[in-house]
């Protein structure tokens, strides 16, 4: 089957969307951009491919094992978890190998063996607890290897270092050096193998799904065997120029966001995208073609990265900011949305005795105000309005935005897709499809 891939190389994350001939999205993939767009592209693409295989499994199972019914989601979830575990163990092996390579006598004179032994123990612990991390009821804060492996490595190695009377910093240093290398290794291509192993374990251990084993196996294997031809790929986002593909395969992210929003909500006329480093206000026509746009320049005040800094300052997760702001009883007025000054602004308000939730509510309002100004410069808000980018997931930002839109533009349909982070990649995939068809 033919496939069309869109890659959006953002400053924080790289996203991929895989689309088929009927403009249906088969898979989405995301990874951290890791300052290596080449690898990020490969990983995101691979992740979209994994997602695509799951979509195909779903289709086959629906058809071939209709009796799964509402248990289909659970089955696929477990199949994916098994796959993720396999993937994690594989990457862990790579990380261990790389760490050991960094333990050389010139860097750790006299301690080489101890360090190796401790590392061995740390990775053994990590492998032991891995199945727990990917258990069906476990909660993970992030799906990126760097985050999961990193946080657990830090915790385990601290204990192990103490036991061996070894400096913890030393182990951290080995990790820091290695993780960057590991992240830049091209991803392993053996996707089917991992799915098959996951399927095997699932059949052996999982609850009875009430379907004949052979039926399920056949449905999954058929899905894995479908040949997917990469017919055309389009890249967008800040990393696009460094990509190893030619100009015909590059589109500006403004066009991609406009078209992506149109694909999700065909009646979209105004798009707001708040990404890691920029905020874009885009006007599109009834075909998703960009008519005008405005974006921030020189300064990333009020963009996603700003919230990232605030989260760091507050020692909170990015996704925890919105819920906390929702608890505010009043809003502290914040004028500066300068990312660099974020910490100072925050500490200043805290010192004045303001409550964290009230400050956060004020911060959310101020970034939305900035976005509103950019939108108004691009031509205002027309019905329908689609909000995309990482910040669209933040409920406090959305609440403020809705309020300001109602105040300034009256009743407008506001669309926010749960998958809005893929808007740019979706636009790019659509461009890829059109390129083959000889359009735009």
């Amino acid at each position: 089957m033919k496939s069309y891939i869109g890659i959006d190389l953002g400053s924080t994350t790289t996203k991929a969307v895989l689309m088929d001939d009927n403009q249906e999205i088969l898979g989405r993939g995301i990874t951290n951009s890791r300052s290596n767009y080449d690898t990020a592209t490969r990983v995101a693409k691979l992740e979209a491919m994994v997602d695509t295989r799951l979509t195909l499994c779903r289709r086959n199972l629906k058809e071939q094992a209709p009796q799964l019914e509402e248990r289909l989601d659970d089955f696929l979830y477990r199949l994916e978890l098994g796959f993720r575990l396999e993937q994690f163990i594989e990457q862990l092996g790579d990380l261990e190998q790389t760490c050991l390579e960094h333990v050389t006598d010139d860097r750790f004179p006299g301690k080489e063996k101890v360090v190796r032994d401790v590392l061995g123990a740390v990775f053994s612990d990590l492998r032991d607890e891995a199945p727990g991390i990917y258990a069906p009821d476990a909660k993970r804060r992030s799906d990126f290897f760097r985050d999961i492996a990193g946080s657990r490595y830090l915790a385990i190695s601290e204990a192990r270092a103490k036991e061996a009377d070894l400096s913890y910093d030393l182990l951290l240093n080995v990790y820091d050096k290695s993780i960057i290398e590991v992240e830049n290794h091209p991803p392993s291509e053996d996707m089917s193998g991992k799915f098959i192993r996951s399927l095997g374990k699932l059949i052996d251990n999982a609850p009875d799904f009430g379907v004949r084993q052979e039926t399920v196996e056949k449905a999954v294997r058929d899905a894995l065997d479908v040949e997917i031809e990469e017919s055309y790929l389009v890249g967008t986002g800040y990393g696009r120029v460094t990509l190893p593909f030619s100009k015909e395969h590059i589109r500006s992210e403004i066009l991609c966001h406009g078209l992506g929003a149109h694909m999700m909500y065909p009646k979209t006329r105004t798009v707001l995208d708040i990404g890691g480093q920029d905020t874009k206000g885009i006007q599109v026509d009834e075909d998703g073609i960009v008519e005008n746009f405005q974006m921030n320049d020189r300064c990333a005040a009020g963009c996603g990265r700003y919230l990232g800094y605030i989260a760091d300052e507050m020692k909170m997760g990015l996704h925890e900011l919105g819920p906390m702001a929702m608890k505010a009883t009043r809003k502290v007025r914040i004028n500066s949305t300068c990312t660099v000054f974020a910490g100072a602004e925050l500490r200043d308000r805290l010192a004045l005795g303001e409550k964290r939730e009230d400050i956060l509510a004020g911060l959310h309002r101020s970034i939305v105000l900035r976005a509103m100004s950019i939108i108004s410069r691009s031509g205002g808000i027309k019905d329908q309005f689609t909000f995309t980018g990482g910040v669209a997931k933040n409920e406090a930002a959305v609440k403020e935005l809705k309020k300001l839109i109602a105040e300034n533009y009256g009743e407008v349909t506001i669309n926010i897709d749960p998958e809005s982070i893929y808007t740019g990649a979706l636009g790019a995939a659509t461009f890829a499809r059109r390129a083959v068809e000889g359009q735009a």
């Binding site: 800040y238 403004i254 735009a440």
Partner: protein, 436 residues
């Protein structure tokens, strides 16, 4: 507000006119820096509404602080000068031409030829539409303690020039400007000498208009913004009304004719431009600290600017105005009144709309300058209006004149590429798209 990038552009593929332009600019600075040795007095004035013909009648050497700031920008010195001025208390938001000029003076006031600029003997403000100009000269007056002439040009608020305006301005010339210049220079005013210069001006102006309007051809033989900035150098600088200017524009016109005949496009710093893919009208001044990089973002994508408002800051000649030896004083006044930034917003919108139509452009691009209010005020409105009237897509980018801190290449390139792709999309799908 006008420009003559020359010295920093050493490896440009050179036509004869380019060499001549470069020599003229070098000569301009030599003339200035040797003014004292030659026993000549110096008049500082601004490009928009500059009265070069009149200044020459008093044997004064014309010094243009904006041109000096542009030279500093092109020679990558303005960043340091701007910071120097800020050290002296000038705010971050002040026009960077001013700060570059002030900083340059604080750092020894050295001209591009390595010699010192002379102190001015008289400051002549002949265009008052830019409030900053007035403040700029107040600062210079404070520093040099010299005579200052303020020749007030009424704003074309209603979009037309009235008899009252002309009378008012002619009276200022007779009662204030000319007597002061006579006093400072010690030279008696001779109206016939002025007539001669005006005759020369009109000749060069004819050829300049021919060159700028040659962009109506497809492909356009010139780039009317980046290239245009070189072309306006002599006439907006200190050469209007001279034989040198007549020779330069004749030479340029002949070269442009050759290119039209050959069906060739503009000459860029990397040689002749490739295929013309986009024809743009540009509003607003350029960025000078990254002038070549900025231009490259256009020609690399096959974008050529076919008309620009910036090349009209030192005079709008498109609509028939020429300096007129028959009405010397009136003609000087009319020239000042017709400067681009002295036109009201509806006139500017009309002009840009006509450019998009007459030059068969794909759309309007606005380069908004952080520190230039004369240009930037109303630009969003202009964009909307031109977009609406022409149905062609418009875009907005933001840079600065000579402050290198306000040129973000990635951001500008991103917007430009988006714009070019937007134009592409519009073209393939027509006004009513069918792509989805």
């Amino acid at each position: 507000m006008n420009a003559t990038p020359s010295t920093a552009q050493t490896d440009v593929a050179k036509d004869d006119s380019m060499l001549k332009q470069k020599a003229m600019m070098a000569n301009h600075f030599d003339r200035l820096t040797s003014a004292r040795e030659q026993n000549r007095k110096v008049c500082s004035t601004f490009v928009p509404g500059n009265l070069n013909e009149l200044i020459m009648c008093f044997d004064l050497v014309n010094n243009l602080p904006e041109v000096n700031a542009i030279q500093s920008g092109l020679r990558k010195k303005s960043g340091l000068f701007v910071m120097e001025a800020e050290k002296h208390g000038h705010s971050e938001d002040v026009c960077t031409y001013v700060k570059s000029d002030i900083g340059m003076m604080a750092k020894g006031n050295i001209a591009p030829n390595g010699k010192m600029f002379p102190d001015p003997d008289v400051l002549m403000l002949s265009y008052t539409g830019c409030f900053t100009f007035m403040k700029w000269f107040e600062l210079l007056r404070e520093q040099f303690k010299c005579e200052t002439i303020m020749f007030h040009t009424p704003y074309e608020g209603d979009g037309k020039i009235t008899k009252n305006m002309m009378d008012y301005m002619v009276r200022q010339l007779k009662e204030e400007v000319i007597p002061t210049l006579e006093r400072v220079s010690g030279v008696k005013f001779d109206i016939d000498r002025l007539r001669e210069h005006l005759t020369a001006s009109a000749k060069a102006e004819d050829d300049l208009v021919y060159v700028l309007q040659s962009a109506k051809h497809k492909p356009s033989p010139i780039d009317a913004y980046f290239g245009g900035i070189y072309y306006i150098g002599p006439i907006f600088g200190a050469y209007r009304g001279t034989q040198d200017a007549i020779d330069y524009y004749r030479m340029l016109r002949a070269e442009v004719d050759e290119r039209i005949k050959a069906g060739a496009g503009p000459v860029t710093p990397d040689g002749p431009m490739g295929e013309e893919k986009y024809r743009l009208v540009v509003e607003g001044p350029p960025n000078y600290t990254s002038f070549r990089d900025f231009w490259k973002m256009f020609y690399e994508e096959g974008a050529v600017v076919v008309a620009s408002s910036y090349t009209k800051v030192g005079g709008v000649y498109d609509f028939g105005f020429r300096h007129d030896p028959q009405n010397p004083l009136e003609s000087l006044c009319e020239y000042c009144l017709r400067v681009y930034t002295n036109m009201n917003l509806p006139q500017r919108v009309d002009m840009l709309e006509n450019y998009v139509n007459e030059y068969q452009a794909d759309g309007l691009l606005i380069n908004s300058i952080k520190s230039c209010n004369s240009f930037s005020a109303g630009q969003l409105l202009i964009m909307r209006e031109v977009e609406k009237r022409t149905g062609k897509p418009a875009a907005f980018i933001e840079t600065d004149l000579v402050d290198p801190r306000y040129f973000s290449p990635a951001n500008v390139k991103n917007r430009l590429e988006s714009y070019f792709q937007m134009v592409d999309q519009k073209r393939t799908t027509g006004a009513k798209g069918v792509a989805a």
